[in-house]
Every structure is written in structure tokens, then in C-alpha cells.
């Protein structure tokens, strides 16, 4: 981000760089920087809160008055430490012949469709697979978690990328189940901690790690705190 600020400024564009990680924006030292201590992925702070987003922009644009390099801090902080845990009613088991995660995927489909209808497909599925292919993709990860080498399990793409679609499916289903926009990371925490699908992903990742697979093939299947 700050690299682009330097390059653009050299080309004659005035820039304001927002930064979420203080050390990075301080060291990269863009011409005009505003450190906003907000969760990663939410550089304007609060989704659905126009007044908050406008306050961020007003502070950012005020930096255009600076006559030399400047780094300021936005006055309001957002932390995920006090966030409420996302509590979504999970679908009941309807087909006990299926692996619980695959049954869960089917059961969440109405909520997923509701989330898409409400908000569109901005971060849901489609990187590698569509919503219709989530169940099949998750089945390949079940096989990996049970000991099948990942290269023989039929994963329909790079594992981390496929998992992004699976996680996106679940998180948008959470939007469809919630009466408000969940706080930062609540969707990811719910997926990895509370759902059968998340457990399958973490188990498959652990199986790949334990089998000595190259780190790049399993590490990015979950955030670094996992």
C-alpha cells in the first residue's frame, strides 16, 4: 500500500494511504499516512456505518493540507478482543448417511442463498468452485483428514484457494442467519471453531502438515493464528 503511495506520488498524484498495521505504515513512511487501528480487512472500520466511514475519510483528506510527510493516527480504535461470538442456529442433521460436514453444507444452503440475496457475492464463492460444488470439495478434504494424500484426494484446485471458497460459503451463510453484520473475525472464528466444515478443514490441514507436505500447500488453508 505504502509502496504504491510513493510510486503514485512520484508520478504526480497526491495520495493518502490508510494503514492497519502501525509498524508497517510507519516504516514504509508514505507521503501522507493515516494509521487506523481497525481489524484487517476493514480499513474503513465499520461496515454499514456511513457516519464512521465518513469520519475516517474526513481525517484522511485533512492530510492533504500537510506540506511535508505526515503520519497521523485515527482517534477511534476497533479491536476484535471484545467481540461477541457469532451464534448461528445450525441446521439439524437430515441425512445421517452423510458425513456431518457434508450434511451441514446442504443444511446451510438456504442461509447461504439468503446471504447472497441480501448482500451479493463479494467474498463468498467462485474463486475456484461455485456454491454447488462446495459439498464435493469438502468431501475431498474429509478424505485428506482421513489419511488420503492430498494429491490423490481430488481437491479441485490449490487447497488454500478451495478453502477460501468453503469459508466464504459458510461466512455468507452466517450473514444469512444473522440479523446484523457480525463483528470482525466473528465469521472466521465461527467457521473454524463451531462448524463441522471448519473442523474438517483444520483436520485436513493438520494431516497434510503431519504427513510432511510442503508448508505452502497447507499453511494458508487457515489464518496464521490457527
Amino acid at each position: 500500500m505504502s509502496t504504491l503511495a510513493h510510486v503514485f506520488e512520484q508520478a504526480g498524484l497526491a495520495t493518502i494511504a490508510l494503514g492497519s498495521i502501525r509498524k508497517q505504515i510507519a516504516e514504509a513512511a508514505p507521503p501522507r499516512g493515516l494509521w487506523c487501528d481497525f481489524p484487517l480487512g476493514r480499513p474503513l472500520g465499520k461496515p454499514g456505518d456511513a457516519a464512521f466511514q465518513t469520519r475516517v475519510l474526513e481525517h484522511a483528506f485533512s492530510l492533504l493540507d500537510a506540506t511535508e510527510q505526515v503520519l497521523e493516527e485515527f482517534a477511534e480504535r476497533i479491536s476484535d478482543e471484545d467481540n461477541e461470538a457469532l451464534s448461528c442456529p445450525m441446521p439439524p442433521r437430515t441425512n445421517k448417511a452423510l458425513h456431518p460436514a457434508l450434511d451441514e453444507v446442504r443444511g446451510l444452503r438456504p442461509a447461504y442463498d439468503r446471504g447472497i440475496a441480501l448482500y451479493g457475492n463479494r467474498a463468498a464463492t467462485g474463486r475456484v468452485i461455485s456454491a454447488d460444488e462446495i459439498e464435493e470439495a469438502l468431501a475431498t478434504l474429509v478424505r485428506v483428514s482421513e489419511g488420503t494424500p492430498w494429491t490423490e484426494a481430488g481437491i479441485p484446485g490449490i487447497p488454500a484457494r478451495v478453502v477460501q471458497d468453503i469459508r466464504g460459503y459458510y461466512e455468507v451463510a452466517a450473514l444469512g442467519l444473522s440479523d446484523h453484520i457480525p463483528s470482525a473475525w466473528a465469521g472466521a472464528s465461527w467457521f473454524f471453531d463451531e462448524t463441522q466444515g471448519g473442523k474438517v478443514v483444520l483436520n485436513a490441514r493438520a494431516a497434510m502438515r503431519d504427513a510432511g507436505e510442503e508448508r505452502q500447500n497447507w499453511y494458508y488453508m487457515a489464518p496464521v493464528d490457527r
Binding site: A5, L13, L18, P43, R127, R167, A184, A188, Y220
Partner: protein, 148 residues
């Protein structure tokens, strides 16, 4: 509390250093054309997705706000953007500021790159200058850069 851990991980990476800092004086904000440049790997539905280490950019039309994120990193909250694109590319807010006369106008185009890259030399030498030229040619004066 993943955010603290993920940010701590991000702090380990060394930032690019620049020997000199260019500083462009913009026109009055109320007369300036403003664009947003995001590193959230945003693209339109009909554009190709970003490859893992891609250093190129996508041109985002201002009037077609079907943006999706193709970011490869799992280390960010995507639900905020999924629910409100203004969380990353605040064009509704810029529209309001333009209507109020705070900014001159919102650019017809915006750009997105893919953040979370280890090697930024191509961005610095190639796609960065190319994107800047595109925005300059489109009449942009001020760029708001938003991270993922």
C-alpha cells in the same frame, strides 16, 4: 482474537524503503478528482481473478459496483466487505462528499492490486507506474489507498 496475532505476523515483514519521498501538491480538494486504489485484489465479476503472486492491477469501473475480492491471503476478515463494499472501497461515501462539494468529483475508474506480496519490485518498477499513468490520464488528482 485473531486480529492481534495476524497483525503481529504482518509486522515481521520489512517494509520497502525509499531514499527520497516525492510529495505532490494537490489542487483544492473541492476541485479534485478522487480515485480509490485498493490492495484487496478487487475485480469485477467478469474479470479474471488474481493469481497468487500477481503484481498487476484491475481497472474498476466506478459505475459498476459489483466488486469481488480475489485476495489469496486468509489473514483478513472478509465478512465486512461481503456485507458492505464501502468497508474497503468507500465509493458511496465519496459520492456523498462530492454531492456536498467537499471533493470535486469521484473518478470514473479506480484500481486494485493484490496485497500481501513478498516481492514488490514489479509493483515499484512496472505495474505501479503504469497504474499511476492510467489514473493521471483519467484526470485523477487525489488517490485514497486502502489496504486489505
Amino acid at each position: 482474537m485473531p486480529d492481534k496475532d495476524v497483525k503481529a505476523s504482518g509486522e515481521r515483514f520489512e517494509a520497502e524503503s525509499f531514499e527520497t519521498v516525492a510529495f505532490t501538491t494537490p489542487p483544492k480538494l473541492s476541485e479534485a478528482t478522487v480515485a480509490v486504489v485498493s490492495t484487496a485484489a478487487l475485480h469485477h465479476e467478469d474479470q479474471t481473478n488474481f493469481a497468487a503472486t500477481e503484481t498487476g492491477y484491475r481497472v474498476l469501473k466506478n459505475n459498476l459496483r459489483d466488486y469481488q475480492t480475489g485476495q489469496w491471503s486468509p489473514n483478513f476478515d472478509s465478512l465486512g466487505f461481503a456485507a458492505d463494499f464501502n468497508t474497503i472501497i468507500p465509493l458511496d461515501r465519496l459520492d456523498e462528499l462530492a454531492k456536498q462539494g467537499v471533493i470535486g468529483k469521484v473518478s470514473d475508474i479506480h484500481l486494485s492490486y493484490a496485497g500481501s506480496q513478498y516481492d514488490l519490485s514489479a509493483v515499484r518498477m512496472d505495474s505501479g507506474p503504469a497504474g499511476a499513468k492510467l489514473l493521471k490520464d483519467a484526470g485523477v488528482d487525489v488517490v485514497l489507498l486502502t489496504p486489505v
